[in-house]
């Protein structure tokens, strides 16, 4: 049986996640309330509370490579279930951002492609342009036809605007992107 050896790097990883997420991982009891309440836990490869345990054991690669961090949508249901006020959604944010910066293997590249399409839209218009986001996402995933019926129906109901709603002061949006550092 393979044992787990805790070394200095384990504590470093804990510190990094705690700093980024402003939360205290030792508060987790592993009572599984978060995982029980999470609407997505059945589709995740690792349960949300197990992610915390992995961080504590220094299993950085496994945590950053998990599908869990990408299937979490930040709905905060876990926070409502947690008896100890652990900010699980913030921990997932921290892990996602670390995975991007450290070029970790992304378990759900489609989800990241979607996030990138949204942020890209905000960088250009200051607002989200849903039709373009969908098109960009579909192109990046080379999946043009799976939702085509739905797309046409939404267009016919004018749910999708052809032209974006835009911020006038484009420069001010660009300056926010400049000051906030690189986006994946």
């Amino acid at each position: 049986m393979n044992g787990i050896t805790l070394d200095k790097t384990a504590q470093e990883f804990v510190n990094q996640v705690e700093e980024l997420s402003h939360s205290n991982l030792s508060q987790c009891w592993h009572c599984l309330c978060c995982s029980g309440g999470c609407p997505f836990s059945k589709d995740m490869d690792v349960l949300p509370n197990s992610i915390i345990r992995m961080i504590q054991f220094g299993m950085k690669e496994q945590a950053l490579n998990s599908s869990t961090i990408w299937l979490c949508v930040g709905c905060n249901t876990c926070s409502m279930e947690c008896p100890n006020a652990v900010d699980m959604a913030a921990i997932m944010d921290a892990l996602r951002q670390m995975a991007i910066r450290k070029n970790a293997k992304i378990a759900e590249p489609g989800v990241l492609a979607f996030h990138n399409a949204v942020v890209d839209s905000i960088s250009r218009y200051g607002r989200t342009h849903k039709l373009e986001i969908m098109m960009r996402y579909k192109f990046s995933e080379k999946d043009l036809f799976s939702d085509i019926d739905l797309g046409l129906k939404m267009l016919s109901k004018r749910k999708l605007d052809l032209l974006p709603s835009k911020v006038k002061d484009k420069k001010s949006i660009q300056s926010l992107f400049k000051m906030s550092g690189e986006v994946s």
Partner: protein
Amino acid sequence: MNDIPNQLSYFPGCSLATTAKENNTSLKSFLNHFDIDLSEIEDWNCCGSSSTHSVNSKLALSLAARNLFLAPPNQQVLIACPGCFLRLGYAKMTLNASNEKQTQYEKHFDRPYNKNLELVHFFELLAKMSGKGFFKNLTGRLNGLKIAPYYGCMLARPPSMNKEKNHYGLIENTMATLGGEPIRWPFLSSCCGTFLSVSKPKIAEKLVNRIMKGAIQSGAECIVTACAMCHLNLEIRCKPGNRLPIFHFSELLSLALDKKASKDWFKRHLINPEPLLEKKQLIPCQNGRKSNGFFR
């Protein structure tokens, strides 16, 4: 806010400004009826949505902060989208807790930060209006409409914000005041899947169909949502044969005011709610139109 102001700043957010225009116009028309005027924050930008804080926390704070700095001082900011409300509220909390960040953004935007800016969710305003008896004359207007109240993740927030106001029960109470019959059901705060509807549609389908099935089994005739994103996901990811009409809360409120106010909004729905409303005599019957089920 003890008194109800008749002029509020307004942050619509991207969904209400585009895909959910019917939510936006019905909300404005409803408030207009009570002489409450909304003035959009000049040149507002996206709150950052779910995607920005997933990939860059600083950018998420910066985008939300720009709106806080643009909002005129001394006027409450009304927000109807639960997502935007959470993002702007989180940014306000973060800035209020750090003088260093305040100064940094004050320098960047070249104007003072207003730490007392009041962000008001539409539900908070409704609760006040209801408390002041604004809806007294509207009792019975939605007579007999069986409604599944759906909050989605609106009732949830991060632990650092758990002292904020909670509006659980407001849809039920308001709908009951207007004569509707809110049903009890288990999925009122079950997540709709949000953006996974695009990148992992199978997961969103599973969640949405569970919610729909729950509403149907509980005897509801329709679902009322508090969030434009939930409204969209429920409409686009439910299976044929497992669907009920879905209303934005603001649409039913407006319908209670004026039965004719609604035509244009309902035309934008993917699940046609008109047959149900005609059956319940909540809108005038359109002569010669055969009712062919909910899906047009």
